[in-house]
């Protein structure tokens, strides 16, 4: 079983901009069992329903850290019944949150992932048709995030 991840971008008004569920692309078996899709998230249905709530409940912690630390990457900020929660906040108060069910601490690879997402996000902002706090619906953005997920997680 590879780890599953739930990644979300939260705007300045605590509104969701983007969500993605996926699982680790590492350690894919060479002979794929039937019904096995690499990258498909393996959260249970009950966890899936909770994930947005878990991510949003960590916003209080991020808000507290926003002005007490000057780091972009906040590292592991919380955990919830075996789910680790990592956060990242940009200068413009955009929050990136990842919830993942791993026993190991994956803060390093997640940090690199977050940094790439940060650059990607500032490219989204260059689009004149995109306003801050709009949902990011671009297929290109989605593709790129998934590629980054494959690369780092």
């Amino acid at each position: 079983m590879s780890n599953s991840y739930y990644f979300t971008i939260i705007g300045t008004k605590d509104n969701p901009l983007y969500e993605l569920e996926f699982s680790s692309f590492k350690n894919i078996p060479t002979t794929l069992p039937s019904n096995y899709i690499p990258g498909k998230s393996q959260f249970s249905q009950s966890t899936k329903e909770l994930l947005p709530f878990i991510a949003n409940s960590s916003l209080d912690i991020i808000e507290d850290l926003q002005f007490s630390t000057n780091l972009l990457n906040l590292g592991k900020i919380d955990q919830f019944y075996g789910l680790n929660i990592n956060g990242y906040i940009t200068q413009g108060s955009i929050k990136f949150i990842i919830c993942y069910d791993s026993t190991k601490d994956e803060s390093n690879s997640i940090k690199q992932f977050f940094q790439e997402i940060n650059e990607l996000y500032s490219k989204v902002l260059l689009n004149p048709f995109y306003n801050v706090n709009d949902a990011i619906i671009s297929p290109d953005f989605d593709l790129k995030v998934k590629q980054l997920a494959r690369k780092y997680l």
């Binding site: 692309f25 000057n70 650059e119 801050v132």
Partner: protein, 252 residues
Amino acid sequence: MSDDSIIIPSTTTNSLSKLTINDYSKTGFGYNPSIGTQSNSINNIETSNLLISKKQIILSTSTIPIYEKLHLISKKSPIEEITLSSLLYLFSEIIQWQFKNSKNINDLEARLNGLGYKLGIKLIEMIKLKDGYKLLKRDTKILEILQFIHGPFWKFIFGKQADELEMSQNNNDEYMIIDNLPILNKYISIPKDYGDLNCCAFVAGIIEGSLDVSGFNCNVTAHTSTTDQHPLRTVYLIKFHSNVLYRENIRN
């Protein structure tokens, strides 16, 4: 939106309308906020293989892979320069456009401020990334962010640092950024009966937007304060809201 139309948020006007729960992306990529994670989760083997194959993928919806081409934070990308006259011509068109719609001088300044605000909330993200990527730091104190705006931020927009950064002697919530020769005002002469209009309200809007989105709520206004040496000298008066100062006192 019918099933036939392809969702191309970056180019079509459809993107400006809201996506509904009936809109599915044909390519399998693209987040739909009405559906949530189900809209873009990796559910079939084709999508999965596409991602694993490491080939460059070009979605049929996009001809120019914008996210690939631009490298914001690489050292080699210099700041591209444009001619001053074309910039100022554009700015004068903006002023004329807003002037037609505005009721009075204050209204015009508020409109220019609003335009700058929209720009500022986007710019700060990019410039901060370009400037402070190696440090991976945010600015969390009033003085830090003002120095950032006075220095790298100004340099990115106008090609030079702002001339002075001062704190008001009377009020501890007021700061001033002073530009001796604001580029945008270079060829603008204000008629006498327009009072103290300063078209750099646009720049004040940029400052206000970038401070606001960073968590420093404030009002920024542009004032002309002529000296003998610098006839166009402009003072940007930044007045922070009381909650910002309150937070600053607690955190330190």
